[in-house]
């Protein structure tokens, strides 16, 4: 099994103080860790990408276990929707930087921790330099470009990538980019194109799931440091929280892998936003051509009793949270239910934020609907600017 470079061969192992010996006594009395293992933990440097759902349990457990140096990369701020799963943050932290919030908790758990925080987005420009300062990278990000960036930077710097990923009630975990093991690209050579499925329509995650998967990542990280057990390198663990089933699939190093194969075509970091086809996704893809309407304009027209047909393309469970009294056709059902719409009427389509409804408007335009427009900012903008009593989600 591949392990991190033996830090003890470079430097003398760090000495544990009496306070540390007491603190780690339940480790020290088990042969798989012992004094030698605890010294390895103290000497180890782990970089956590993200202080969110996966990063919370990861950072908490690694800190408690006595990992000596923990780096965290995050540039986000705590908000109320994080608290359902990001257990390192509390209600009082809402509005604070996640790094500041996480620092308080981690230092409170273990004052012996050398915590290094990086208030930045991980990019192709800073990843290699950052990764070189650590032994292991634990990936707790939430998007495809960063997943590929973390993988490639791990391969290029020779650092193991402890991977975890979650969606709704399913999770995946593995250890990539060990010396002879497969990398993320061996499993997924290319990212799926954006937009095949409306992603935010299906968003959401069972709050406990990142705990389950993040703790698996923490376990794998500690095993790599100790050089104990069988790592998940070469295996993909699939977690189904609803069925409470754990399955594993075999992963193989792909000889044709562009970053870790025999004929490598990727020898430096690339533009991952472009690679994943998300360049410019922030600006609406169809924005140039699609008619837009602001929430203020819509309110004015509705108040004036103008003939407007409000089309809600969200999911039924979102409609239950809040709605504008619109006609509900989830985006995925629109093609087969298009006959329910009257193309002679003025239609205003909306979703939560405006992304799905942009797709709906583009689709309806193509289908010959002339008088259709997209509500900018969706029902969230309505809740912020028109009806502030409406719940936001």
């Amino acid at each position: 099994m591949a392990t991190v470079p033996d830090v003890n061969s470079v430097k003398a192992p760090p000495v544990l103080s009496n306070d540390e010996i007491l603190r780690y006594s339940r480790h020290l009395i088990m042969p798989e860790v012992g004094m030698e293992g605890q010294q390895k933990l103290k000497a180890a440097k782990v970089l956590c990408i993200g202080a969110g759902g996966l990063g919370s349990p990861l950072a908490l457990y690694l800190t408690a276990a006595g990992v000596g140096t923990l780096g965290i990369v995050d540039f986000d701020v705590v908000d109320y929707t994080n608290l359902q799963r990001q257990i390192i943050h509390t209600t009082a932290d809402v509005g604070r930087k996640k790094l500041d919030s996480a620092s308080d908790k981690l230092k409170a758990i273990n004052p012996f921790l050398n915590l290094r925080t990086f208030d930045t987005k991980l990019t192709s420009a800073n990843a290699l330099e950052l990764f070189r300062e650590f032994d292991i990278v634990a990936d707790g990000t939430d998007n495809f470009p960063t997943r590929y960036l973390v993988n490639d930077a791990c391969v290029l710097t020779g650092k193991p990538n402890v991977y975890g990923s979650i969606f709704r009630f399913e999770g995946q975990a593995s250890v990539f980019a060990t010396k002879d093991g497969p990398c993320y690209r061996c499993l997924y050579p290319e990212p799926p194109p954006p937009g095949l499925v409306p992603s935010c329509a299906e968003g959401g995650v069972l709050g406990i799931l990142p705990g389950l998967v993040g703790v698996i990542q923490a376990t794998e990280t500690i095993k790599l440091i100790l050089g104990q057990g069988d790592s998940l390198a070469g295996r993909l663990l699939l977690v189904d929280a609803l069925g409470m089933k754990f399955r594993e699939l075999k992963l193989r190093k792909n000889p044709d892998c562009p970053v870790c194969g025999t004929h490598r075509t990727i020898t430096k970091l690339i533009d991952y936003e472009e690679f994943c086809g998300v360049r410019g996704q922030e600006a609406p893809v169809y924005g140039g051509d699609l008619p837009l309407i602001s929430v203020e304009e819509l309110k004015k027209k509705l108040d004036a009793k103008a003939d407007i047909f409000v089309l809600d393309v969200r999911e039924p469970h979102e409609y239950q949270i809040c709605n504008l009294g619109g006609y509900l056709i989830p985006l995925g059902d629109l093609p087969k239910r298009i006959s329910e719409l009257d193309s002679s009427r003025q239609i205003v389509a909306h979703c939560k934020m405006g992304g799905r409804s942009a797709k709906a408007v583009a689709f309806l335009k193509q289908a010959g609907f002339a008088k259709v427009s997209n509500l900018t900012g969706g029902i969230t903008a309505w809740a912020e600017r028109i009806d502030t009593k409406m719940p936001k989600y």
């Binding site: 969110g52 996966l54 095949l196």
Partner: protein
């Protein structure tokens, strides 16, 4: 509830057993499989089983296949615990008790949950 991984149906007209393979559907695709987590389909090879799946649930087709009928490059298909790319791909023969899994790319972790397939 016990769900058999593999079932064989006796086809009276042809007087033969038709073996069914179970295909595990990942949650992002279940909206196109009538909410089913697993679908039993007939087929002697992985390709036949997947073709059977999309004929039962036509909405799955564009998520699994390109317009010219090829399996999409980012769709990972496993037979039991083995990637079919390291077997005989879609020509991989199925035997009694085999399970096919479609494994999606998921990227959720700290904030927005993203899955594309």
């Amino acid at each position: 509830m016990f769900i058999p991984f593999h079932t064989c149906i006796f086809h009276q007209y042809h007087s033969i057993f038709i073996c069914m393979t179970q295909i595990q559907i990942p949650s992002p695709l279940r909206q196109y499989s009538g909410k089913q987590a697993a679908v039993d389909v007939p087929g002697k090879t992985v390709g036949e089983a997947l073709a059977g799946l999309v004929s039962l649930h036509p909405e799955l087709k564009r998520h699994l296949y390109t317009d010219d009928g090829k399996l999409r490059a980012f769709v990972n298909v496993y037979v039991n615990d083995e990637d079919m790319r390291y077997l005989q791909k879609e020509a991989t023969a199925l035997k009694d008790g085999d399970t096919i899994s479609i494994v999606p790319s998921i990227a959720g972790g700290c904030g927005v949950m993203i899955c594309r397939l």
